[in-house]
């Protein structure tokens, strides 16, 4: 519980900063400060995170990058949540041959080097922002589908579901009252663990120059730009890189904590 609270708190602070931060700063994300090209972080000109090679304020850009990164990740996770839960629940509840075919398809997709497809899509479809969400969501639903399917299959065989069928409870009500509530815990855990994966993919694409378009930015784009400047101005790399790592770490620790929490509840 402590882990969940601490990591949740950090993420909340980061999210609030990302939303409110740009208002507090006198700078914006496109204007060039000609007095400060590649300036180190200082209170001078309120460039708290320094500036980049175009003299743009890195604090505002980083906060904006966090916004984009978090948004992409959350939307992508929701996409994967919807596809994965629906797919897994159907396969698991229907069972039999339908399940076998559906899971065979998932196994096949697992063998695809997905990131290559995403790269291809990005190139072919001109880096459509919406497409990034869809692409990332499309990668991540596989795990969710597998887990939900396994759980549903197990729940379907549980005796309380049989008891419900025996007393005449309708299938929709069984799914709603008996299956869904028992899936909730594991789904929450895996959404939490999907978010950092989505962040990774998004920033990976942005890093390759295939993600968010300039002058918009994301943490991956900032890291990419930082790599180019790191020999003269290491802060351009280290600040967005460590924020990215911190966010990923928080989500990972939180997912872990949630899993322990739900596991412990199950064991009782």
């Amino acid at each position: 519980m402590k882990t969940i609270r601490v990591t949740g708190g950090i993420l909340l602070v980061i999210a609030i900063a990302a939303v409110a931060g740009p208002w507090l700063s006198p700078n914006d994300y496109v204007t060039t400060d000609f007095d400060a090209i590649l300036a180190a972080p200082s209170a001078q000109g309120s460039h708290w995170f320094g500036t980049d090679n175009l003299g743009r304020d890195l604090f505002v850009r980083t906060m904006l990058g966090i916004r984009v990164t978090l948004m992409v990740a959350i939307v992508a996770s929701l996409v994967s949540l919807v596809i994965g839960v629906a797919y897994g629940a159907i396969a698991g509840y229907v069972g039999g041959r339908v399940d076998a075919v559906m899971m065979r398809f998932v196994d096949t997709l697992y063998a695809l080097p997905f990131i290559f497809f995403v790269i291809l899509l990005m190139v072919a479809f001109e880096r459509n922002f919406l497409l990034i969400f869809v692409a990332i969501g499309a990668i991540n639903w596989l795990d969710m589908a597998r887990i939900v399917r396994g759980q549903t299959l197990g729940l379907r065989e549980r005796e309380f579901v049989e008891a419900a069928r025996l007393t005449g409870v309708s299938t929709p009500r069984i799914v709603l009252r008996h299956i869904a509530p028992n899936l909730l815990g594991i789904v929450i855990v895996y959404v939490t663990l999907t978010i950092p994966q989505a962040i990774l993919v998004e920033s990976f694409l942005s890093f390759l120059g295939l993600g968010v378009q300039e002058p918009q930015t994301s943490l991956g784009t900032l890291v990419d730009a930082g790599v180019a400047q790191m020999e003269q101005a290491s802060w351009t790399l280290l600040i967005p890189a460590s924020l990215l790592a911190l966010i990923l770490m928080c989500f990972n620790f939180m997912g872990d904590g949630l899993r322990d929490h739900f596991d412990a509840r199950h064991d009782r």
Binding site: P113, F204, L208, M230, A241
Partner: protein, 307 residues
């Protein structure tokens, strides 16, 4: 066991075909071809080019032609690297990727399994929490952050190791790319090993072995290590996929002429035969690897063979 192996091999064939078909369809569904960016071509020239690459044929026929070529190891001509076949291009760049990937996997297994087992035996103690905290950090830092930071530290500031690939020789140039690739895998495998070892050590048969006076080391060596390795074995498929993904970044950053770099260039240039070739090549590799993993799994767990 033989029956199981044969069944598994047979089962992998449709998977492979489906994967190739999916890749083929996706690549052909992508709008725009390699020649779009050049000046608008006269229709006759375009038709000529299309005929040359058999693009005028119906899709099923193209797919069959592609499959036939595959059986001979022919992935078709590259659109962009004129005069080179895709097989040639992959053939020259793959050894570099393979060396990096294989080294990374071996290192990841050694350190990951060792660290995870150590942490499991010290469960709850400082050493355990230290190793696990470290590995969570390892999982959370993306490859494209690790690589530049390592370069900044060891190549730029300390100047111990070369930052790039070309123009350098010897073992030195492998160090940073391999570490970068291995790091997240070490971390993941360590966590996996620890969890599974703790799980196995709590099983009844381990208690039996302890009741027989086997001693901790013997209990682990004889009874616990095999079952504890099963999740790690299952993870080998995804691990390979992860290494392949990572290699795209690592090869870009360190300027290594490997398959990852080849792919990114191919994608940027809309060299679709090349892109398709790389996807099919890596997909086959992953399918083959999963097959080996499945068979090894049955070697360790005798109960699986009967399913």
């Amino acid at each position: 066991m033989l029956r199981y192996t044969l069944l598994r091999i047979l089962g992998a064939i449709p998977t492979l075909l489906l994967v190739i078909a999916l890749a083929f369809l996706m690549v052909h569904a992508a709008p725009g071809g390699p020649f779009d960016e050049e000046r608008v071509l006269p229709p006759e020239v375009e038709a000529n080019i299309e005929a040359h690459y058999n693009l005028d044929e119906p899709l099923p026929k193209q797919f069959l032609r592609y499959l036939v070529g595959l059986t001979r190891g022919d992935l078709g001509p590259s659109y962009r690297y004129r005069g080179h076949t895709v097989s040639e291009l992959i053939g020259t760049s793959f050894p570099n990727s393979l060396k990096l990937g294989a080294l990374a996997i071996v290192i990841a297994l050694l350190l990951g399994v060792g660290g995870g087992t150590y942490a499991a035996l010290r469960q709850g103690a400082f050493a355990d929490r230290f190793v696990m905290g470290l590995s969570m950090t390892g999982i959370s830092i993306p490859v494209f952050v690790v690589a530049p930071v390592l370069v900044l530290l060891f190549a730029v500031n300390l100047q111990w190791l070369p930052a790039g690939w070309s123009g350098t020789e010897g073992v030195g140039r492998y160090v940073l790319p391999v570490i970068t690739l291995a790091l997240p895998q070490i971390a993941y495998i360590a966590r996996l090993t620890r969890a599974s070892m703790i799980d196995v050590l709590a099983r009844d048969f381990v208690r039996t072995a302890r009741a027989q006076g086997l001693g901790t080391l013997r209990v682990i060596r004889v009874h616990a290590i095999k079952p504890a390795m099963l999740p790690v074995l299952s993870y080998m498929g995804p691990a390979i996929a992860g290494i392949i993904t990572g290699s795209v970044v690592v090869e870009e950053i360190f300027g290594i002429p490997g398959v990852g770099q080849l792919f990114v260039r191919g994608a940027m240039n809309r060299d679709y035969t090349l892109v398709l070739g790389v996807v099919v090549f890596y997909a086959s590799l992953i399918v083959a690897f999963n097959l080996i993993v499945d068979i090894l799994y049955a070697v360790i767990d005798p109960r699986v063979r009967y399913r």
